[in-house]
């Protein structure tokens, strides 16, 4: 290739210090844009996955549980509380006017440590009536759950075919669920038969206090889908009125709550991203302006030798675009790496479900961020480059000779 065409590259390679500074600037810029976008969209898809998990309109739990535990944590973060009531509640709830599908679940705590260091939560659901867990399980596991088979959350370190022991009883892992970004990722799911078996073996280990409830007829909560057109709040009130000792919690209120704080966080992230981007953009503009003016005489020399205004502009701009693209690519990769490494920690700090978007959207975000930085580079310098290339050669040549 001829040296004039190679000039932008040579300028970068043969002035390493300057190039590294420019690269860093571009990297900061793309890091912010991409990191911000990734975070906002992780929060969003965390939220979406949460909503999907939470197909129920109303959650019915024992009265004392509603006081004991933060309801939002139970419902939204999937943090199971350990509270129990009689399974007659299910039928009673189903009889209330306005309820559609009704299904109960039981939450058990287990120290079964063959798989995990932390306490594992067992969630038992009734495959006959379930409408929240199964659709989700269907995505990663297509078979029927047989007796003594369980499906594990994404973060449980067991794979299909492994054996997990709870209260001395063995269960086979039949499948593993996709990530949700919530505490459900640490849960183990089992069908009604299996869970009854486990409940029985757990008695006497003093883990789950069923109190006066018969362990063969114990449940933790009833999930309710209201009939089409029914007023959810009304139905909840009716349930509380006709079934004694329970609280009926409409989930939409909670989702609205968490949506609100999610919006808040997304907003903060967006504003911060914008501020950092603007600052980096300004710095970039200053640096490019200095750089371009410092090289005025050199540009004039090229013009004397026969470089036209257009080719000079093209040459300088391609140098800038090159450095922006390279820096931006580095920044984007760094952001991706950090996000992958620290997404759990972030999720913990923000106390929000976070779920990385799929590879396709991540790649799209990456490409868009890199392009955005290249565009910022062009925007921040084009005016100056154009001005310098238009300057009268005879005058520009007088600089610092």
């Amino acid at each position: 290739m001829q040296i004039f065409r190679k000039l932008p590259l040579l300028n970068l390679l043969r002035k390493p210090v300057r190039s590294v500074i420019l690269l860093c600037l571009a990297a900061v810029l793309s890091f912010t844009v991409f990191g911000g976008a990734l975070m906002v969209s992780s929060l969003r898809s965390g939220m979406t996955s949460l909503k999907e998990r939470l197909g129920a309109d109303i959650m019915v739990i024992p009265e004392e549980a509603a006081e004991k535990k933060n309801l939002e944590e139970i419902v939204l973060q999937g943090q199971t509380g350990y509270f129990y009531m009689e399974d007659t509640v299910t039928e009673a709830v189903a009889d209330v006017e306005g309820t559609g599908q009704v299904s109960d679940q039981i939450f058990l705590a287990s120290l079964a440590a063959s798989c995990c260091s932390a306490k594992v939560q067992l969630i038992g659901f009734d495959p006959e009536t379930d409408f929240t867990v199964l659709p989700w399980i269907r995505r990663s596991y297509s078979g029927e759950l047989k007796k003594m088979e369980v499906v594990v959350g994404h973060d449980i370190v067991s794979d299909e075919g492994d054996t997990l022991t709870f209260y001395g009883t063995d269960c086979i892992v039949a499948g593993k669920l996709t990530r949700t970004g919530t505490s459900y990722d640490h849960c183990v799911f089992a069908g009604a038969d299996t869970i009854r078996e486990l409940t029985r073996s757990s008695i006497g280990r003093n883990l789950n206090q069923f109190k006066e409830v018969d362990p063969n007829h114990v449940i933790s909560c009833v999930l309710v889908q209201t009939e089409e057109g029914a007023d959810i709040d009304e139905v909840a009130k009716r349930i509380e009125a006709s079934v004694s000792g329970v609280r009926a919690v409409p989930t939409s209120g909670m989702i609205a709550g968490i949506s609100g704080s999610l919006l808040g966080i997304s907003h903060i992230v967006r504003v911060m991203t914008a501020v950092i981007f603007l600052l980096a953009f300004l710095i970039m503009m200053i640096v490019f302006t200095m750089l371009i003016h410092e090289r005025k005489r050199e540009y004039a020399l090229l013009r004397v030798v026969g470089v036209s205004r257009v080719s000079l502009t093209r040459s300088v701009m391609s140098e800038i675009v090159m450095v922006c693209l390279a820096g931006a690519a580095a920044g984007v990769l760094a952001a991706l790496l950090i996000q992958i490494l620290f997404v759990r920690a972030l999720q913990g700090t923000l106390d929000m479900p976070m779920l990385m978007p799929g590879a396709g959207s991540v790649i799209a975000y990456m490409v868009l961020s890199v392009l955005a930085v290249a565009a910022a580079g062009i925007l921040s310098s084009f005016w100056n480059v154009n001005r310098v290339s238009r300057e009268e050669i005879g005058l520009a040549l007088r600089r610092e000779r």
């Binding site: 026969g306 470089v307 005058l395 040549l397 000779r401």
Partner: protein, 227 residues
């Protein structure tokens, strides 16, 4: 190719005692004939570089026109004018003039590179002639003033242009290199080029066909070699 300036005048806007305008070159006609070496000398600040730039097509005159073989130089569009400069004009600027991220050889062959030509052999020949062959791979930052100057001259002459402008071409050079440079310019004039040298060196006068002096923007002819 001959260069003819018609009633050119150049003013700068500059605040001084009672006026805002400095006439760097007072209105004059001027001819650089093909095949001859024309020398301009004069005190510092008298307007020599300004005149040279106007003639070379890189500084618009306030008034007047510059013709290259009858073609109005400043009427050309930038794209055309740039190509014309590349092919026909050799320009040695006053002071240092290196493209800092190109090594010596790349600097010298730059005029060829712009239009996708190689020019390596011509460039090597030039470095040989001006004694910088051993420095071909060296970056300009590491060169002495004289070496840089010879590099700039080599670059200006590499395409064997028909019109050559040299602003203090021998400023940093020793006697031997001064002679080489002036010999080369003389030689190109003999081959038909129009050569204009701005200089302080008395030495250059012996190579000149015509000598002009410049004083506060006013040009006057001092001598003309017969023939």
């Amino acid at each position: 190719m001959e260069v003819r300036a018609q009633q050119i005048r150049k003013e700068y806007i500059r605040t001084s005692r009672d006026t805002n305008i400095l006439t760097a070159v007072a209105s004059c006609d001027f001819l650089i004939p093909a095949g001859q070496v024309t020398v301009i000398h004069g005190s510092s600040g008298s307007g020599k570089s300004t005149l040279l730039n106007v003639l070379a097509g890189i500084l618009h005159p306030t008034e007047g026109k510059v013709f290259y073989d009858g073609m109005d130089l400043y009427a050309k569009r930038d794209e055309k004018l740039s190509g014309f400069r590349n092919l026909h004009i050799g320009y040695v600027p006053q002071g240092r003039s290196a493209v800092s991220s190109l090594n010596v050889l790349e600097n010298v062959k730059l005029p060829y590179a712009l239009y996708e030509e190689d020019g390596s052999s011509a460039a090597l020949e030039m470095t040989e002639r001006f004694g910088i062959r051993d420095l071909c791979e060296v970056m300009p930052d590491c060169l002495s003033g004289g070496e840089l100057r010879r590099m700039a001259i080599a670059r200006a002459l590499v395409r064997k242009p028909e019109v050559i402008f040299a602003d203090e071409p021998t400023g940093d050079l020793d006697d031997e290199n001064t002679k080489t440079v002036l010999d080369s310019l003389r030689q190109l004039a003999k081959e038909g080029a129009a050569v204009l040298i701005v200089t302080h060196e008395e030495e250059a006068f012996t190579y000149a066909d015509r000598i002009f002096s410049m004083n506060a923007g006013k040009l006057s002819q001092e001598s003309c070699r017969p023939g």
